[in-house]
Amino acid sequence: MATQNQYQWRRDKDGLGVWDHRGKVAVAGYGHSPVDRRWDERSMDQSLGAYTILACRLAMEDAGVTPDQIDGIICCDSHIAGGSGGTASNWAPRPYFDPPYDSELGLTLINGEWLAKVMELPNVRFAPTGVPTIGEMVGMASQAIADGKCNTCLVIYPTGNLEGRYRRGGENADDYAKGARQWVAPWGNHGGNDFINIFPHNQYCLKYGGTHDDLAPFVINQHRNGLLTPWGYNASHGLEQLTVEDYVTSRYILNPLRLWDCDRPVNASAAYLFTTAERARDMKQPPVYVLNHSQHNFPTRTTQSDLNEIEDWTDRAAKRMYEGAGLGPADVDIFNPYDGYATMTQFYLEAFQWHGVKRGDAFAFYADDIRVEGPHPFSSSGGNLGNGRTRTAMYTDSIQQLRGTAGPRQVTVRAETALAAFVTPSSGGWIMFSKHPS
């Protein structure tokens, strides 16, 4: 099995032109596990492994694919959001269970080799290790299908969550700061995406006018869309609709970043089935074609990226995506950018100029009608804020909207193209889907 380091698959440069394989790869299926707040460390049918197997089976069933047809697995192996975060959340050392749960694999870690074994997928020939996050995985799958590395590929994104407050252990419990942390941790920055965006967000408010509370309509609409998403955490746990008052009175985390600007860590898994456009046409569902995938990894110039850098980075990411897809802002019907912190989404909205939104216009746009049934159905997925920190709602909603199966979230405007991402302004990837191959 190859490692992703040996395979140059990324489209992460400026000026690459239209993707050679535009419209020749498709998504043919998806599947979601239930979304729990945490795994209770006892219920084996609710472990990350059990949920991942379930998500894969649902994706295969959705596409009408049998186990012997799977020849590719792209799965990132660790996205745990428990007390320590990252691989530091692993259980070891402690007693394990009977096979296949006799190690961390299946409990807090998932990888392609383990999945191929427990799911009895006999023909997997492409299962790279060390793969990145879902934002890049969907691009990697698209390119791998296009390059003939595999023909029928499961893309799997497990997000685990154990007992304990979010990432309060591991290096965050250390009195010392090594590596990149020596430049930030002594002053209180734990190194998360919250810090990446909150300072530029403040600068945004100063530059363009507005206050932090201008995010309220966006956050509330994310929760509204989440309640229209049956598989998501909010809908499946009976949460009530967030109100403006709830939002503006919620406690601060990194003032002005509020509790409701942050997503809710969950224990869940999702899977997508990628294949060639040709094969997808013979499968159960109408294909959702991939028009382009693109990635970015922009180095931070100094201690803290500022608004100028963030705007430059997101502009470049938008240009790469539009150029590779052969589309422009007016061509994008469904727009599902990342919202893991509410303070970053305006940067993407304005860079991609969705529905004509330019720099400095986002707060006014949020205050307009962004409901799914309205003229500007922004982030129709509800994202992480509306569904929990699965980081997959953006992709699933895009597929459903193009299939016309989004139920109460189905937009009333045209739904023939969809742009989705799990990104930060500095790193990650975008993918453009289409109802038509060209």
Binding site: Y166, R167, R168, N172, A173, D174, D175, Y176, A177, K178, G179, A180, R181, Q182, W183, V184, A185, P186, W187, G188, N189, H190, G192, I198, F199, N202, Q203, L206, R251, Y252, I253, L254, N255, P256, L257, P299, R301, T302, T303, Q304, D306
Partner: protein
């Protein structure tokens, strides 16, 4: 309250040695005349590694913006909450910025736009960090 203690490595040793001598010394690229912080193996602007040298800077800056950490994740800093975390731009090169807790400035009362100058604060025996204080 105790702050987290930076651990110098091969690349950062000169910087932290300078801080422990109460000097702010940054990488300077003689090829493109740019300052660089945090240190990197090569100039991020022109790619030169050979032309990178260490240069004392004056240590004057301004407060660009700030947040207040009310519920952070760093155990050692939790007793300090809420505390300011300001973004300081260096006057000699405004593309260089630093963090500061602005010692002496009460939480939420940060004078954005004010001038600051570098100071040094002990975080462990024989280990200082660079901090910034409001002047004028």
């Amino acid at each position: 309250m105790p702050k987290i203690i930076p651990v110098a490595d091969e690349l950062s040793k000169t910087f932290w040695d300078g801080v422990n001598d109460k000097r702010l010394i940054l990488q300077h690229c003689a090829a493109c005349e740019r300052l660089q912080y945090p240190p990197k193996p090569a100039c991020q602007f022109c790619g030169s590694g050979e032309k990178l040298e260490w240069k004392d800077v004056e240590g004057k800056g301004h407060i660009s913006t700030y947040i207040v950490i009310e519920d952070g994740r760093l155990n050692r800093r939790m007793p300090d909450q809420p505390y300011n975390l300001a973004l300081i731009t260096l006057d000699e090169d405004t593309s260089v910025n630093f963090y500061s807790n602005l010692p002496g400035v009460p939480p939420y009362e940060v004078p954005v736009g004010s001038a600051v100058e570098v100071m040094f604060e002990e975080v462990a025996p024989d280990q200082l960090i660079h901090e910034w204080k409001v002047v004028g």
